[in-house]
Amino acid sequence: MSHLHIPDGLMPVWLWAGGLALALLLLARGSRAARGRSPQHIAYQGALGGLMLAAMAIPLGPFEYHLTLAGPMGVLLGGAGAFQVAFVVSAILALMGHGGLTVVGLNALVLGAGATVACRAYRAAAGRLSPAAALALGTAVGQAVAGGLWLVVVGLGMRLATGWSSRGVAPDARLGVFAGIAVPLWLLGIVAESLVAYGLGRFLGRVQPNLLPRSPEPGVAASAAGPT
């Protein structure tokens, strides 16, 4: 419940256009900050982006529900790197008709916010908890934020008329029905993503612990690849 499947033409223009502009701004800023990074880091981002894309393409139940892996990506790549991956993955999915092209910016913002929060929560907890527990906690917090943003964005989109009709304002009762369906899915998403993150953290902690950041500098590959 943290990825917008909303197709084109349904959200208010100011909402998707504003989201797209903000996402491009953050992308440009992140790209400038990443200039000193090794191309290997970009290759690593690409590899994890492929994983995120694969996870998003596998429906796990009704309503096209699927994992996003935004939390683990935020921890492994850092907030800025994960935001870039989220933008790229959203753009590729939109080109395949999976969500609208106009909501790519909103998607990237929602997923990127979840990833950034997950990264910070992980770093705060990493000293006190095991890697698996810290990754699960970070993912849970990130997923909660991303899911909350998702609900706000979709709720806003449904609440506001898209310009066709002045009568197109949804009554609160309809929004209540939407919330009744979406909130349980959101909670389910937090649990599912956290459990997957726990398994991921447990595996990485045993097999390749250097991929999990412990220091204030997030992302492995940043340190593993080093400047070239």
């Binding site: 499947h5 992308l27 690409g46 590899a47 609208g100």
Partner: protein, 239 residues
């Protein structure tokens, strides 16, 4: 979804229609124009006309009917959600809320179904920041590199009983499986980086330059653009 992605990828390269021979840049601009008209069209007639135009493009590109139908049908669930929330008692509003996303998704499928990904990403990577542009190529490539590996992983998980038992155990095991893919991705990125250096990587993946090579097939794209422009001028102010 991944099967559809692989099918679209194959069709984009193997297709032999004029749309497949036309330049990626022209098709990208046409698809964007159709998307803009679909989203901003003030009246139903224009929207219907643009919708008919996208159907004609999708059908003449000889994409499998099942694929086109899947793309056309994808937005239906979420359109229904919005239709329910914005129901105003008229038939026009639901039709508009259905036609807009259907038109946009058909245009997207026509574009990706007739354009190989290096040609499609090359112009996009030139307008996006460098790392995001490179990320488009590397992410798409990584997906296909991961496909066979992830299929083997899920099969092994199933055979060893990893997909049985309580959901908590299954999800944690799936996370462990994803961990192997993360480690593989990291090792792959090291090999990929070495390959990029060997091939003379200059700091940016530019993709090929075919995307702006114009041919006679582009006349069809120009014709479709002219029809779209004509429809826009003729029907813009009409209900």
């Amino acid at each position: 979804m991944i099967g559809t992605l692989a099918q679209i990828d194959y069709l984009a390269s193997a297709g032999r229609t004029p749309w497949h021979r036309a330049s990626a840049l022209g098709k990208l601009l046409l698809a964007l124009a159709m998307l803009i008209v679909a989203v901003f069209a003030p009246g139903l007639r224009l929207l219907l006309a643009v919708h008919a135009l996208t159907w004609s493009l999708a059908l003449t590109s000889r994409l499998p009917g099942r694929l086109v139908a899947a793309a056309a049908g994808y937005p239906l669930l979420f359109s229904a959600l919005f239709i329910a929330s914005q129901w105003d008692g008229t038939w026009q509003t639901p039709v508009r809320l259905l036609l807009r996303p259907l038109t946009a998704s058909l245009a997207a499928v026509w574009l990706v179904g007739t354009t190989p990904y290096p040609d499609l990403f090359a112009p996009l990577s030139r307008v996006l920041p460098r790392s995001a542009g490179d990320g488009l190529f590397l992410t798409y490539r990584a997906l296909f590199a991961l496909l066979a590996r992830s299929e083997r992983l899920w099969r092994a998980l199933r055979l060893r009983g990893g997909l049985t038992g309580p959901a908590r155990r299954r999800l944690a095991l799936a996370g462990g499986g994803l961990g192997t893919l993360v480690v593989h991705g990291f090792e792959r990125s090291q090999r990929l980086y070495s390959t990029m250096l060997l091939r003379g990587h200059s700091g940016r993946i530019c993709g090929c330059r075919h995307y702006a090579e114009w041919s006679r097939a582009d006349l069809w794209v120009a014709l479709a653009a002219a029809v779209l422009a004509g429809l826009g001028v003729w029907l813009w102010g009409k209900p």
